[in-house]
Structure formats: structure tokens, C-alpha cells
Amino acid sequence: MSAAPGISIRDLTVAYGAFRAIEELTVDIPAGRIVGVVGPNGAGKTTLLNAITGFTHVSGGSIHLDEVAVQDWSVRRRVGAGVVRGFQTVRLMERESVMTNVLVGLERTRQPSVLAQLLGLPGQPRSRRRDLDAANAVIERLGLTGVVHQRVDALPFASRRLVEVARVLVSRPSVVLLDEPAAGLDQAGRHELAAVLTQVHAEDGCTMLVVEHDVDLVQRLCQHALALDSGHLISEGPPADVFATPEVQVAYFGRSLDAPA
């Protein structure tokens, strides 16, 4: 699988009992691009993300990374292949340092065996050095150097968001999935996050899927957008075009913007 695979989804269905969160969805997420997933609450955005990462069982259809079908893979196998996600509500080790939280993100890279780690056998220092360098790189890029040894629960909300993003990015995954990473940030924070993600994406070159409500952020950050409504794809394309289509506006604002008030 390439460093930034395209995600091709063919008539994907995810049902919780009778309720169909996603119904017959077919879409191609372009490789190596930052793609926004927009739509009202309950449109199936988070469900799509859960389906791609394996957290939710797929009732029908397929998900391919480049040509590899992954819909039956376990979460752990997908993570090993580089499909790494963040969460809507930040999930960190609150009473541990930023460095520890970022280092744990390297889980999917080759780690010495349990026994080797326990007994501190040779080969440890080399892999520790490698892990520390990777962590320091992403910490610097996200501007967290100043608080690297502070406990996470002592940081403001904006920084804690960045720590989770750092944990996701530290192992240089091929597919990054972020669930409303800007939720709870003020205007300046959102712009800063968009700038950081754009810069990281430009350097690392991965396929990034961002579930987001904020129209301005999507347009600033994403090169491509998908609009979902009650489990169906209602529009796809550059963010400006997607937000211009009447169905998206109806779904978002209850009426078409250019229709008389």
C-alpha cells in the first residue's frame, strides 16, 4: 500500500439494527489529499470514520485502500497498516506528560518484544533513540516544545487537542482520520490548527480525512470535500462547489441560501 493510499468505498452499508447509519455509499477519496467530510448531525460522518478504522462492523459493501480490501481487517491490523484516527472527545493519559502521550502513538512501529523491554536487553537504546527523535520532530512541528514535560491535565484545551493530533501523526501514518479536531477551539486556534495540518500534510504527504462542521475551516484546510446527509452522499468536489450545491445548503441551513428568506 502506498504512503498515501486512495480510499475507494463501494455501496457501503452500516446498520444498527433497523436504523441504517450509512446506506449504499459509493465514493472515491483521492489519494494523498486532505478531504473534509461535512454534513448535519447524524449524517453518518463519524460512522463512516468508524467503518474505515474498523471500530464499527460493516453490514455490506467494501472499503479498499488502493486495491487492498480492508473491511474485514481487525482494528489493530488496520492501525498496523497505517490507518490511525483521533476522537471527537480528546482521549489522552491525563496524568502523564505530553512526551509520554506522544511516544505511545509509536505503538504501531516495530517495537522490541515484551521480554526485551522488561529486561532492558541490548537493541533497546537504539530503538529508544529512534522513537525519541520521531516524537521530538512532531512535538516541535506542533509547537508543543515548551510544554513537552508538563502533565496533560495542566494544559489548556487547545494544546490538549494538539497533543492528540501529535499522537496520531508521530508514527507518520499513511491514512489520518480526525473527528472534529477543531471542536472547542476559538477562531485563532482554528486557523492555527488548519495551518499546522496543512504544513504537516505538505511535508509527510498522507491521505487525511477530517470530519468537520465549520464551513470556513473546511474551505481553508481541505482540498476536497464530501457532503453526507442521513447516510447518503449528496455532494462531492472542491469545498467551495460542495457548499454551493442547494442540497447541501438545505441539509445544513434548512433552506437554500439564495432562495428568498
Partner: protein, 340 residues
């Protein structure tokens, strides 16, 4: 490199090198020597000044510290509540007794104790690997009750309710019936266990445990093998407890079922939670609590106070000070440094 103007709270500059940060903040050379000197003093004081009785208590503190370090790994770091930590201590103590009374050398005893603890830990951990919270606590409680029942019904092998007289541990020149040697026999393995847990802090295995404790969801999302991590934590805790029990028997010279019953497991939990469930120093503070405080209350003539204070502290500290007394001391010291 873009200048970052994120509204990061203005923090006092921690003494950190500009570019590559270490795993833990590196302290200056003076601080390192201070810590080493402090440690040596703490180790040397009992050996030089304590009378026989208190030196014997110090030896027991070292033995118990290994068990609390085990619970520190299992409960403090991996968040798995076990009410059988004293049961595994019992398994180690009685294995040592049975082999010791049949004339086997201490090394053979130690290997057997580790083997028995590993097997016992695996037997308990594997079937309960999906459990957590109350269900795991109940299963571990049941294992403890079964162990007590077996002890009472194997009188000819284990001495049953009568307990068993354990030959003092003799390793090379060190004979545990002499308090100073008992202190050394307890201290050396305890230092090894402490170093192991400190080392664990800097490995990926240690970080996996912490993530499993704080959010199994995030652990799944980062690819952490949750079940394997829980089992490794459980086995570490049971081996630590087994060795602690073996040393306790060798130093105390006598073991009996009440030493390893449900209340003993609860008091181990009290020790770990009060000391500070995640801190290595907290495990030692907890071990000192378990051994010294009952003696003090008995001397005062109100032995019942130990259970009373233990219960109250367990509830209060767990609720109000998640990092225990050591955590409180650290934050107090930090606050003092910050205002000084």
C-alpha cells in the same frame, strides 16, 4: 518553520534543552547526586542505627515493598483492580515453606516460587482477560477464598490453620535470623524490583499499560494489544507478590492463612492507593504503612485503629488525591518551588 502563536499558557521555562527533549526532564548533575546521596542515607540508616526489632520491621517493609510494587504495576499503571495480591504472596510463601522444609536450597526455592507465581498468575489472568472492574475484583476475591480453603484442608502439607514454622532464609553468609542480614535479604530483591519498575517507566510496555488504564478506546485506536498488556501486568504482579511472600516467610519465620486472606489483599490496596498508586516511592511508603502502623497502634493499645484508619484513608485518598500522599507531597513541593 512557522512561528507558533498558539495561546499556550505562559509556563515557567522548565530547564529543558532547546531541541531534542529526553523522555523525562533531565535534571542537573547536582540534583542527581542529591538523589543518590538521599537514597544511600535512607538505606544506611536502618542498618547502622536501628535496634534488632525495628531492623526486623525494616526487613519486612522491604519484602512488602515488592508486593506493593507489583500492585503498583497492576492497579496503579494498568488500572486492573485485583483482590488476590496477598493470595499470590501466600502462594510464594507456602511454596518456599514446602521446599525449604524439605531441604531445598534458597535458589531452588526462588525459582520454584517464580514458576508457581507465573503459573498461578496465568491461571487467574487468562480466563478473566475480558473482565475488568467489579467482575475482575470478584473473580480475584474468589481465587483468594479458594486458596484459603485449600490451605486449611491440606494440614499435613501446609500446617493448615495452625500455620507453618518457616526456617529462616540463609543465602551465603546472610542468615535471616540475624536482623541486619534479614534487612539485607529483604532489601536487595526490593531494590532490583524497584529498578525494574523504574525501567518499565521508560519502555513502550509501560506506556501501553498507562494507556490501557486511562482509555482502552485510545489504546485500541493506537494498536495497543490490550489483552496481552493486561496479562503481562497480571503476571508481573503475581511474580512480584510471590517473591515478596517467599521473603516475608523467610524473614518472619512463620506463615499462616490469615496473613494472606482477603483483608491482607485489601490492606495491600490501601497501601498502594495511600502511597500513590502510580509512583514507585508511593509503593515503598505503602509498604512502610502496612508494617509499621499496626505495630504503633498495638503499642498504643488500640489495634482496631489500623482497620479504621486504613478504611478511612482508602476512601478519602482514592477520592480526593488520586496521586496519593507522594503525589500530594510532590505538588506541594512544586508549589513551594514555584513561589520561592
Amino acid at each position: 518553520m512557522t512561528s507558533t502563536s498558539l495561546p499556550v499558557r505562559a509556563t515557567r521555562p522548565v530547564a529543558v534543552t532547546v531541541t531534542a527533549a529526553e523522555e523525562k526532564p533531565t535534571r542537573s548533575r547536582r540534583q542527581v547526586l542529591l538523589v543518590v546521596a538521599g537514597l544511600l542515607a535512607v538505606i544506611a540508616v536502618p542498618a547502622l542505627t536501628f535496634p534488632a526489632f525495628w531492623l526486623f520491621l525494616a526487613a519486612q517493609v522491604a519484602a512488602y515493598a515488592i508486593a506493593t510494587l507489583g500492585l503498583n504495576v497492576l492497579y496503579g499503571r494498568t488500572g486492573q483492580l485485583s483482590l488476590a495480591q496477598a493470595t499470590f504472596m501466600g502462594a510464594g510463601a507456602y511454596t518456599g515453606y514446602v521446599l525449604g522444609s524439605r531441604g531445598h536450597a534458597p535458589l531452588v526455592q526462588l525459582l520454584a516460587v517464580c514458576a508457581v507465581s507465573l503459573v498461578a498468575g496465568a491461571v487467574v489472568a487468562v480466563p478473566t482477560l475480558r473482565l475488568s472492574g467489579l467482575r475482575l475484583a470478584l473473580v480475584t476475591l474468589a481465587v483468594g477464598e479458594l486458596f484459603a480453603w485449600v490451605l486449611v484442608h491440606t494440614t499435613d502439607l501446609t500446617g493448615g490453620t495452625q500455620g507453618a514454622n518457616v526456617e529462616p532464609l540463609v543465602v551465603g553468609p546472610l542468615d535471616a535470623s540475624i536482623p541486619l542480614f534479614a534487612y539485607l535479604l529483604g532489601l536487595l530483591p526490593a531494590l532490583v524490583a524497584t529498578a525494574l519498575v523504574l525501567h518499565l517507566d521508560r519502555t513502550q510496555l509501560g506506556r501501553r499499560m498507562l494507556l490501557v488504564r486511562d482509555s482502552e478506546l485510545a489504546a485500541r485506536a493506537t494498536g495497543v494489544p490490550i489483552i496481552q498488556t493486561k496479562i503481562v501486568a497480571f503476571l508481573l504482579a503475581s511474580v512480584f507478590a510471590g517473591v515478596a511472600g517467599w521473603l516475608y516467610g523467610g524473614i518472619n519465620g512463620f506463615v499462616s492463612p490469615p496473613d494472606f486472606n482477603l483483608f491482607a489483599s485489601v490492606y495491600l490496596l490501601v497501601a498502594v492507593v495511600i502511597g500513590g498508586a502510580r509512583s514507585v516511592l508511593g509503593a515503598w511508603v505503602g509498604a512502610a504503612y502496612i508494617v509499621v502502623v499496626p505495630q504503633v497502634f498495638t503499642a498504643l493499645g488500640i489495634p482496631n485503629l489500623y482497620a479504621l484508619v486504613g478504611g478511612a484513608l482508602l476512601a478519602l485518598v482514592a477520592l480526593l488525591a488520586p496521586d496519593g500522599l507522594v503525589g500530594l507531597a510532590r505538588s506541594a513541593a512544586a508549589r513551594v518551588r514555584r513561589t520561592a
